[in-house]
């Protein structure tokens, strides 16, 4: 049993706390610098637009974009495209997760399958998925299914790569424990391989949510008839730059919210991992 030595209640901080505080302080400064940077760029943009150095109807302006956004929210014009994009991302992610996680585990656990698929998966991961866009359109048309294909296509490879890496890095000792206790394959997969891989899986999900959004927007830009990407596309064609910018702001917020939510889930479900 370890004995607990009671610490004197002095204000002196230990080296660990100091390090943590220092890091927190740094984070805070980085955050502040980020805000300053953003404000400077937006300010400069606003000034050049207001002073007439650039044509505001051509380049839009922060104030114009905010006004357009407020208007879109006010009239409720924003919700249908936002929901449409979210729907694409959601369906795409469901398919990606349902297919990607079991497939990744399977490939990672089998040396033969891994050998067979590894080059393919890393090529598909590395090649920008947009080059496949014309082919996908040729194969699937430009309907809702084609959009879904694009979302899944762009989202699944980061997930696969991470799950495969995770499944291959499962500590040998964990598997030996399962073996010694004669755990059935399914239990080993569910109770040992999966949780051991979970940190990798969630990292993969976080990356693929980002890619799913990119896929959805790209699909909407090129072949959509709904969604935020479609709004950006049509508003730009109609020279309504403020509205286009407003849609881009919404996409940016969406990207941050989605990624942060998965990061939160990641922390919530891998709390047991000492590295968190």
């Amino acid at each position: 049993m370890t004995t607990q030595v009671s610490q004197p209640a002095s204000p002196v901080t230990g080296p660990l706390e100091r390090a943590v505080n220092a890091r927190k302080g740094k984070k805070l400064t980085t955050g502040r610098l980020g805000v300053i940077g953003l404000v400077v760029v937006l300010g400069a943009w606003q000034v050049t637009a207001s002073a007439g150095w650039v044509d505001a109807s051509f380049a839009s302006s922060p104030v114009g974009a905010v006004k357009a956004l407020a208007h879109m929210i006010g009239t409720g014009e924003l919700w249908p495209p936002l929901l449409s994009t979210l729907e694409s991302v959601a369906y795409g992610m469901i398919i990606t997760v349902v297919v990607g996680i079991p497939l990744g585990l399977l490939i990672g656990r089998s040396n033969t399958l891994y050998g067979l698929t590894e080059p393919l998966v890393s090529i598909m991961y590395s090649v920008p998925f947009v080059v496949f866009l014309p082919i996908i359109i040729f194969w699937f048309g430009i309907g809702a299914e084609a959009r879904l294909v694009i979302v899944v296509w762009s989202a699944i490879f980061p997930l696969l790569i991470n799950v495969i890496a995770g499944a291959r890095n499962v500590d040998m000792h964990y598997l030996q424990v399962a073996k010694v206790f004669c755990a059935p394959r399914l239990l080993t997969l569910r109770s040992v391989t999966f949780p051991a891989t979970l940190p990798f899986v969630l990292t993969g999900v976080r990356q693929s949510v980002g890619r799913a959004l990119v896929g959805a927007i790209v699909a909407e830009l090129f072949m959509g008839n709904a969604g935020l990407g479609y709004v950006v596309q049509t508003e730009t064609s109609a020279f309504k730059m403020d509205d286009a910018m407003a849609a881009i702001v919404v996409i940016a917020v969406l990207a941050i919210v989605l990624t942060r939510s998965v990061a939160w889930i990641e922390r919530r479900f891998t709390f047991w991992s000492s590295s968190v």
Binding site: Y174, Q176, V180, S191, V192, S273
Partner: protein, 285 residues
């Protein structure tokens, strides 16, 4: 001393590893023979790298033997079985399962996690002194606590033969002593487990003498049996026994046997492989 129907029968066992890029085959265990009677607590000592872990892993059924006979209850060991469990040197607890869930794992794997199984797990949590800590996760446990969980996990399935590979090696001296006493206490107290057969690997000779009914000394690798020593100390064993002249004499004798095997001395330069034709006084290279 060989009973007609031993629990575990080891005859001329040969185990090897294939390693390196060329897949060269090297014996880790060669010509190892002994018997273990039911309800015996066996301690195995031997020089580092002689093949103790390799042998235990084979008894657990994780690796095959390449020659000889290895039988448990007259049946050849050809894979892991529900009648055995293994306590690994590293705690190897699942970090995503809390104490209770870790101890439950074996029963769950056997499909025996019913009301009785859960009651048994609850009992074991108390028995290994972790009452009230059942919902802690491994990263919140000390080394000693982790090894208690590791032990409880192996006991939970109520195995015929429990294999322990230096379970206390990573602990500090103090915790180690405590755990040795705990193990004897658990061994003597656990109703279901009482009197089951155990094989315990250790580098610590006094630990072996304190715990075991018999101490087996293995040779330098590839391992074979060098000595088989009965420990006649009465049970229940108490820590004070460690200071009796009988205990010390027994320990000294075994230490000498092990030292004669390992020949760890000045001639053993670090990084150099000790082979059987190494003799004292080799010229410095």
């Amino acid at each position: 001393m060989t009973p007609p129907h031993p629990k575990l029968r080891v005859r001329d066992v040969e185990i090897g590893h294939r390693s390196g890029r060329k897949g060269t085959y090297a014996h880790a265990v060669d010509g190892l023979s002994f018997d273990v009677a039911a309800n015996e607590f066996i301690a195995v000592v031997g020089p580092s790298g002689c093949g103790k872990t390799t042998f235990l892993t084979a008894v657990a059924g994780l690796i095959p033997i390449s020659g000889g006979t290895l039988e448990l209850d007259d049946r050849r060991i050809d894979g892991p079985g529900r009648d055995r469990s293994l306590v690994f040197q590293q705690a190897s607890l699942f970090p995503w399962r809390n104490v209770v869930q870790n101890i439950e794992f074996g029963l769950k794997a056997h499909g025996r996690l019913d009301a009785a199984g859960r009651a048994r797990v609850a009992e074991l949590v108390e028995l290994v002194g972790l009452g009230g800590k059942g919902d802690k996760y491994p990263r919140e446990l000390s080394g000693g606590m982790s090894q208690r969980v590791n032990l409880a996990r192996a006991l939970a399935t109520d195995p015929e033969l429990i294999l322990l590979d230096e379970p206390f090696a990573a602990l500090d001296a103090q915790t180690r002593e405590v755990m040795q006493e705990e193990l004897t206490r658990i061994w003597q107290a656990d109703g279901v487990q009482a009197g089951k057969t155990a094989m315990f690997i250790t580098h610590d000779v006094p630990e072996a003498v304190f715990l075991a009914d018999r101490v087996l000394v293995l040779s330098r690798g590839p391992a074979h049996l060098v000595a088989d020593i009965h420990i006649d100390l009465p049970r229940p064993r108490t820590p004070s026994m460690k200071r009796t002249p009988e205990f010390l004499a027994m320990s000294d004798r075994i230490v000498d046997l092990v030292m004669a095997q390992s020949q760890i001395g000045k001639q053993d330069q670090p990084g150099r492989r000790v082979t059987s034709d190494d003799h004292a006084g080799v010229a410095a290279g």
